[in-house]
Amino acid sequence: MTDAQALVLSQELSDLATIVAQMLNDLTLNLTQTQVQQLQSLSNQLTNLSRQIAIAGALAALNAAQSDFDAMTRATTAANAAATQLKAQIAKVNAVISVLSAAITFGAALAAGVLGPAVTAAGTLANAAAAALQ
């Protein structure tokens, strides 16, 4: 029996139990005490078997799909890493812009022949480059 067939069987047992329960709860229906007890017992057996089959099937289905869930977890972890990486890449570009900015400032100072600003700009450039390389 496949898990799908087990589910159908479980549902049918439950449907049968519903009919029994409806008979019991039709209080206008004349039943002897013995009949009531027999119907209660029958309903109980039907629902008990129904849920036993269904619950065992659920456990089997989840166990069988465990490799699928594991694969999904791996893919999700990789996807989250990719999303984080994209943010890191943009941050890196911003760091490179800072390097570029410092380099232009340094070049301009050198071209102008002013030593003080050139030294300051060189320091800024070194710091920006170090940050970009991190």
Binding site: A58, D68, T76
Partner: protein, 359 residues
Amino acid sequence: MVNRRLPRFLLIAIGVAAAGACTAPVDLSAVQKYASTTAAAGASFSALAADFQASCARYNDAHDYVVNAASSPTLPILVGDPSTAQLTDAVSIAALVLQPGYQFVPVASSSSVPTPSPNVPAPIPTAMSNAATCENAADVSKAWGQANSTVLAYVQSLGNLANVDAVPTINPSPLASPLAKIGVSSSAIQASSAILGSIAKFYTLQTSERDISRFLAEVNPSMPGATEALRYVDAVYSIELADEFIEIETQYGGFARTELRNYDTIKGSSQGSINRRLAIAQRLLSTKAAVLSALTFINNQRQASAAYGSAIDQILKTHEQLYEASQRRATLSDYLNVIQTTGAPVLTDLDTLAKAVKK
């Protein structure tokens, strides 16, 4: 020198940025809502998974539940002296019927999709004790809860990848001052800043689309089997709830019949006889109220189960369409269209689920 080189740089940059500029702005709020709403459904999903075990325990306690309700009547003392027929009518619970739960349809029978992995032989238990059955139910609750987290994490990741608005933008402002110092005009600086922004946006979209496509391809082989297992477990939960409903009905039916028989045997119009009849009537009506409350709760859970199953169905369909789109080299706009059409019912299902669980 710098000024002479700049126009060439600008031309190249404009060429690259043009592609980015051609990409229409994408309103990603639908993607974000899809991801955030589904992630927020975690509490409802957990509540359902936990109730799988709880329902098993309630089934076992159904007899005690009815007896306890009868032993401590909560309704005010009755007046009058109803006939047996009137009382029979008053304590009937036949009007409250079991609400539809989730119906499992194997994917294999409704399409040409190969039989998914959960479709394996299921063991048929024989003469299992109630305790053993509930031990199995506890295992299902735990595994179902973990499996739910996996599916929710998948949707959340999809949202993270598509949420390019959350990615920091390129900040070209540090360039403005040094460029101005070396004689670049303010209009050229503004243009280069805009171009840098466009390049960044284009790059971000391209990377996002590539990452989404890769993610969908990696998840795709596992998605049918995983969702089929979840739908199967949900259908089992619906049956479990039905069995619990029937068990409570059965216990109440037997109890009510016994009480009505006792009621009918007390004859006479003395105050003592009337008081004994009223005591039975009060017990019956109080028990009926407690039973109706329990059955209504089960019906709410059945409604939640139906909504959950439908949401899982729709998450799979949305995934399938997203994957198909990715195979056609979809853009974020294409993905958005899928979310807004196929993905929209998921939000409705999750809303229904959340309301049913809170009742």
